[in-house]
Subunit: 478 residues, 2 copies
């Protein structure tokens, strides 16, 4: 028997009149004759032509949507259109049946909401096959980008004892029997008896630990899960998501912006080069979805065009202060169309403001820098004006903030002063401060929310559709 | 001013009489004249020659171990031995001081135990620089291996609601105020009020979710953190560790073994090709460490030889039953030298037995297959003998089990029967069973403990030294 060939490899080769074995799952079976078989290696199916007159009727009956088959046959030029080759089946083996009365995925359009409820099976649809292959390529492209530049991939801890950064609400991690939590004499929870001997939680960011690596290895990056226990039931938030956090010694904010823009372009290009068919399929999908919207709410560019546009254009760079001036003078602000009117310097930008800048004003990805220190984290480098810090946020069309970063405050005195002002406990972060005590240097870094990147590249609208098994309030299925 | 060049790139180029800027940290400063500067890009330092007669004494005093410097100078042929080039300094800038009275890392040998206590600074030593560069290469090699074979990298969830696999004790994840856990009318913990609306914990394995992906995409792999709340204070266990778990549709156990052996050889070769200097350094380190042991406890092969040996030899494959026969007849068993004597078929192998097979009997990596079903998980494919399952464990010298895997039970009836026998709740795993209901097929997979692989390739003895910030009982520092 011939060795199995994956469908992607088969469709890419042009050889005919050879015998092959393919294995996969039935997508459709038309006219008792044409099997569309998919094995997940590509969005495309191979068409298998069954000699139904000489095939056992009992076997034909078992060729149903979702069934797993092994098929050996001869590769021939296709008789249909849209595909170059078919397989003329010689031998069909049913590896696993799929009862059409019970199988939830039928060859028809299912809603994304329904598919979320059967996330264990949604990999088997065109849409989710494409999404998870694109997600895979983006993951690898991120590693490739950093490896080519000599960065060290650092696994920062998931369980931590400090929530010192104050980046958000955290999940507790404990080994206690929750029905019987040990107490001290004074009736406090006795964390000394917990697994780690202290209260621990799930990390909200690997940045602080990442900086420790950068202060020795020069350039590091993390790529791991991070957690927020925020009760956000939105299409942009998850309780568990993946983040990429590079930290670079001897980088200033300009170097940082160059790296982040370079990374985003590199990974988008990688997906376009390696997942063209998937992205074409997702472009089509989005166009069909948008047909249901009023004309003025549809995207001006298709998904493919939008991705190409990102590659072809420099991101616009401007300061927060300049952005505020633009927003104050903008038509939606003057006509009071914004939900939150922009009245002056100092307030944080809302999603509507970011989208206006990116989608209406510049029509390009935008990097905003030098935010007011009051709305940014303690570790960002303070500018001489006493008001702003060397922050940068990258804003993407349809997504909003996709990257947040800064040059870090390397001056011990300034850093400690800011920690005091903001009530960050210095004693808990003694190890972080040590990097400012011993061989400090200018350095910078950023965080890239991986699912937001996948959203952007796949054109999907809900973040729960771009991670295999989403975690959000009241949901931890599968 | 010239652009910064990393020390690795500088040492690899042969150009002299050019001006360069290097940035890094002082390892040593000898005779007020020779700075050994390291920037983490390589284990090697560049020697900077200071014209001390024409340099400000105050500045010279600040060139101390650990200080961060930016140095511009001319590349010249080295006057010393052991290096090809030096930099003749023209301009030295102190970016960050390092008070020699306070800096914990002095240019002398520190114990690994001491360095574990200052894990935030240990990246700055030769040993840990080498370890974490090797760890980085192994990570990337794993991705590269799977990407070249069309596997999809799948991020399985870290927070899960099921501990159905029963692979070990789990950590609870909760958003409850532990001081005030809500109760139901019947005084049970009211998990409906917890963040996810049910009790959740940290994953012990992504395998079951991985199988869901494989049943649509054919070949997937995970690479993420996993957790065990076991009170194991050993040199081989961590509470938080990284695991690689590939799952492949249409694979049997032989395919599975071929893939695992291929993966291990590929990543070891990648590290040897890309981290030769680091591994040579670690080989040297191990040799020096072993000098303190009695002759008969020292390794027969050096680290480099051992790695090369792994590449050059096929792994030995035999069944558990064959292994038991060998062990029963072995000298240490007959002379009662084993702590646990091997008396008959059915018991689990202890570390001493695995090491005997690998290190004494075969002197090669060993793959054991077809274990008794009683000592293996419910999802492993049952052999026709009714006694054994299609499991495989790969045993490595000095490490013991580095890979554990199996062909999975794809037959619904057999699987459910085994779950019933073992008390695994079928209703909780309805989604897992669905893959056996709809389009089941033969498939297989395995788990590779990443830190054990790093231990093997770096020759380190304690797993706490091969992960940046180890988590173990009573410890979650940094």
């Amino acid at each position: 028997m011939s060795k199995r060939i994956k469908i992607k490899a088969l469709l890419e080769s042009n050889e005919t009149n050879i015998d092959v074995t393919v294995k996969g799952w039935v997508r459709t079976f038309r006219n008792n004759q044409f099997i569309a078989l998919n094995d997940g290696s590509t969005n495309n199916n191979v068409q298998v032509v069954v000699d139904f007159e000489n095939t056992d009727a009992a076997l034909l009956k078992r060729i149903t949507t979702g069934a797993a088959l092994s098929i050996t046959g001869t590769v021939v030029e296709s008789i249909g259109k849209g595909q170059k080759i078919d397989i003329k089946a010689k031998e069909i083996e049913i590896l696993g049946d799929s009862d059409p009365e019970k199988y939830p995925l039928q060859p028809k359009k299912h809603s994304l909401e329904f598919l979320r409820e059967i996330a264990h099976l949604r990999f088997r649809t065109n849409t989710f096959g494409a999404i998870f292959r694109v997600r895979n390529s983006l993951s690898f492209a991120i590693h490739k980008f950093f490896q080519e530049r000599g960065f060290v991939y650092l696994h920062t801890p998931v369980i931590t004892a400090s929530d010192a950064e104050g980046a958000g609400e955290t999940f507790h991690v404990t080994n206690f029997d929750l029905d019987n939590i040990p107490r001290t004499d004074t009736n406090e929870i006795d964390y000394k008896q917990d697994f780690f001997g202290k209260a621990t939680n799930l990390t909200v960011s690997g940045q602080l630990e990442g900086e420790l690596g950068a202060m020795a290895l020069s350039d590091i990056y993390t790529f791991g899960p991070t957690f927020r226990a925020e009760n956000s039931n939105t299409t942009r938030h998850l309780a568990e998501f993946w983040m990429i956090e590079p930290e670079m010694a001897f980088y200033d904010l300009d170097d940082n912006m160059d790296l982040a823009e370079g990374l985003l372009k590199y990974v988008i290009k990688y997906a376009l080069d390696n997942n063209r068919e998937d992205i074409e399929f997702l472009t089509q999908r989005l166009q069909e979805e948008e047909k249901q919207k009023p004309q003025n709410e549809r995207s001006e560019m298709s998904l493919l065009e939008k991705l190409q546009f990102c590659l072809d254009n420099d991101f616009v760079r401007l300061t927060y202060t300049e952005a505020i001036d633009i927003l104050k003078d903008s038509t939606p602000n003057k006509k009071k169309k914004f939900q939150y009117l922009v009245e002056g310097w100092g307030t944080d930008l809302q999603s509507e403001h970011e989208r206006y800048l990116v989608e209406k004003h510049f029509k390009k990805p935008v990097i905003l820098t030098d935010y007011p220190k009051e709305i940014k984290a303690f570790y960002m480098r303070q500018n001489d004006d006493g008001k702003t810090v060397r922050a940068m946020d990258i804003l993407f069309p349809g997504i909003g903030e996709i990257v947040g970063g800064s040059q870090r405050e390397e001056r011990l005195e300034k850093l400690e002063q800011r920690m005091d002002e903001m009530g960050i406990p210095k004693d808990e972060l003694w190890w972080y401060l040590d990097t400012r005590r011993f061989g400090a240097c200018p350095h910078a870094g950023f965080g890239l929310g991986f699912e937001r990147l996948v959203l952007f590249v796949t054109g999907m609208g809900n973040i729960r559709d771009v991670i295999p098994f989403p975690r959000f309030p009241k949901n931890a299925e599968f």
